[in-house]
């Protein structure tokens, strides 16, 4: 079982940390260097955490828990209009990033109004590429319960709903956080920050439930291991987009066009097999990206038995 942590410290002797992570069978998920300071997100075997803690103390850094690291979350608002953006959607997205998630903020094309609010099949398919989605709604229970619930029904990924009024339950979602409605200013006050924490914890619980489901039928290989193998590809290294490889719970998003990178990805060696034999590789709806969904051990075994291996 891997544990994801973030090292926050200086660049001095940082290669020692990289080597130690590699020695214990862990992975570096992301590095962000700002001048002489660096944050490194790592996935390590849980039992080796004391070793990493000791090295962190030696290097003068600190270890931060990032329970959402290795996930990509969509934060969805009804529209991009100023009635819904940027507050509090961006505040929630920013708070999720503090928990280690990569977040994408999006507004629906026709999500405004009550009965006129709708979500297209394309938008649903786009949202389903993420590990979880947070729908940020408004201040009226009647509007949310009668009309807005349609926006997130039949979405195949876990959905958390954030809304203003105190509602006991909302259908079609796995988590509900009340007390954050429409706002026209940043959420700075103590009680508002507490609400952001509550939203982040709700998303964390949703993600952990999903992780638990994946553990019941484990993936053939951890996405971080695949990342390690493909980040050396020339096309990936040439990508100028921030975080060219984004980890998901059950795969990865590679920010290189599918047509260009498909062959190279397919040929990547993973424990003696080609990547396309243990994962499905498909174009992403996020322009110029490629999705890799890693198959479970059971699925790979089933394929092997069909092929007579």
């Amino acid at each position: 079982m891997y544990e994801v942590l973030m090292f926050d410290g200086g660049v001095y002797r940082i290669t020692e940390l990289y080597e130690l992570v590699e020695d214990i069978g862990g992975f570096v998920i992301q590095k962000t260097q700002i001048q002489v300071m660096i944050t490194v997100t790592i996935a390590i075997p849980a039992e080796d955490r004391p070793v990493i803690e000791a090295k962190t103390r030696e290097l003068g850094g600190k270890l931060v828990e990032v329970p959402l690291a290795g996930t990509e979350i969509a934060v969805v608002g009804p529209t991009l209009g100023r009635h819904h953006m940027p507050h509090p959607i961006c505040d929630i997205a920013e708070h999720l990033r503090r928990y280690g998630a990569i977040t994408v903020v999006m507004g629906l094309a026709r999500g405004k109004g009550r009965q006129t609010a709708q979500i297209s099949a394309d938008e649903k398919a786009f949202i389903e590429e993420f590990d979880a989605a947070v729908f940020v709604l408004g201040n009226f229970a009647d509007c949310i319960l009668k009309d807005k619930v349609r926006l997130f029904e039949k979405i195949e990924i876990p959905v958390a709903v954030v809304c203003g009024p105190e509602i006991a339950s909302v259908p079609n979602c796995e988590a509900l956080v009340c007390g954050i409605g429409r706002k026209v200013e940043r959420m700075r006050r103590a009680e508002e920050i507490a609400k952001l924490e509550e939203a982040a914890r709700a998303v964390q619980s949703v993600v952990e439930r999903r992780r638990g489901e994946i553990d019941e039928d484990p993936l053939f290989v951890h996405p971080a291991e695949v990342k390690q193998r493909i980040e050396g590809l020339e096309l990936v290294q040439e990508s100028l987009r921030p975080a060219p490889i984004v980890l998901h719970l059950d795969g990865l998003r590679v920010k290189v066009p599918y047509e260009q990178v498909r062959e190279q990805l397919c040929g990547v060696d993973v424990y003696g097999r080609r990547l396309c034999d243990i994962a499905t590789i498909s174009p992403s709806r996020l322009g110029g990206s490629t999705m890799i969904h890693i198959l479970t051990k059971a699925q790979v075994a089933s394929r092997d038995s069909k092929a007579g291996i």
Binding site: H83, T116, N139
Partner: protein
């Protein structure tokens, strides 16, 4: 400034009173709006906003706010009432362009090549500007999907009735009643104030 909200949901009404206050603060209108009343019935798809503004200044002629004198074939203006300076400068820029209007100091303007006779008849109307600003605040507040709107204007009071689908007679009646109450000085806090009269209607 006092904002009164009536509606069918307690949480929503409380939040919208705060939202409107924040919007007015953002736009710098708190001291120009006397009070507002909102009727919010989400189950009927109805949202009515009525705003009573403080008495807007009346239309004034340029010679009433500035001394005009001829200088080098143009006009030198010495502003007497500073509160009109931004409106006067904006009007002159709009009519004659920035290259011909030079602001020498905080209260002095030089209009190149424009004789005083052309400026004496110009009028400033700060009330129109206030109406636009308040309308902007209301549009920021109204739910995005409530696009069917009917406006009621009177001197000092502005009421917007909005809904998502077709406008119903019931909504119009509620809006007209609220508008009339506001015009007649509906008590938004202790001590009622008198509004204006002379109603005009406009469909959006």
């Amino acid at each position: 400034m006092n904002i009164v909200v009536e509606g069918s949901e307690e949480y929503g009404t409380e939040v919208y009173a705060e939202l409107f206050e924040r919007i007015l603060i953002d736009l710098g209108l708190t001291n120009r709006v006397e009070g507002a009343k909102l009727l919010i019935y989400p189950e009927k798809h109805l949202f009515i906003v009525s705003v009573r503004m403080r008495q807007a200044r009346l239309t004034v002629m340029v010679p009433e706010v500035a001394d005009l004198s001829e200088k080098d074939g143009g006009t030198f203006m010495a502003i007497r009432n500073e509160s009109y300076a931004p409106a006067l400068l904006a009007l002159l820029w709009k009519l004659f362009g920035r290259e011909r209007i030079e602001q020498l100091s905080r209260l002095e303007i030089l209009a190149h090549g424009i004789p005083p006779s052309r400026l004496e008849d110009l009028a400033l109307n700060p009330g129109e500007e206030l109406r636009k600003d308040v309308l902007d605040a209301i549009w920021r507040l109204l739910p995005e999907g409530f696009k069917v709107r009917h406006n009621l204007f009177a001197e000092g009071v502005m009421t917007i009735i909005s809904t998502e689908h077709e406008m119903q007679e019931e909504f119009m009646a509620m809006g007209r009643q609220l508008h009339q109450d506001m015009v007649n000085g509906l008590d938004l806090e202790a001590g009622a104030r008198n509004g204006g009269d002379g109603e005009e209607e406009e469909d959006v």
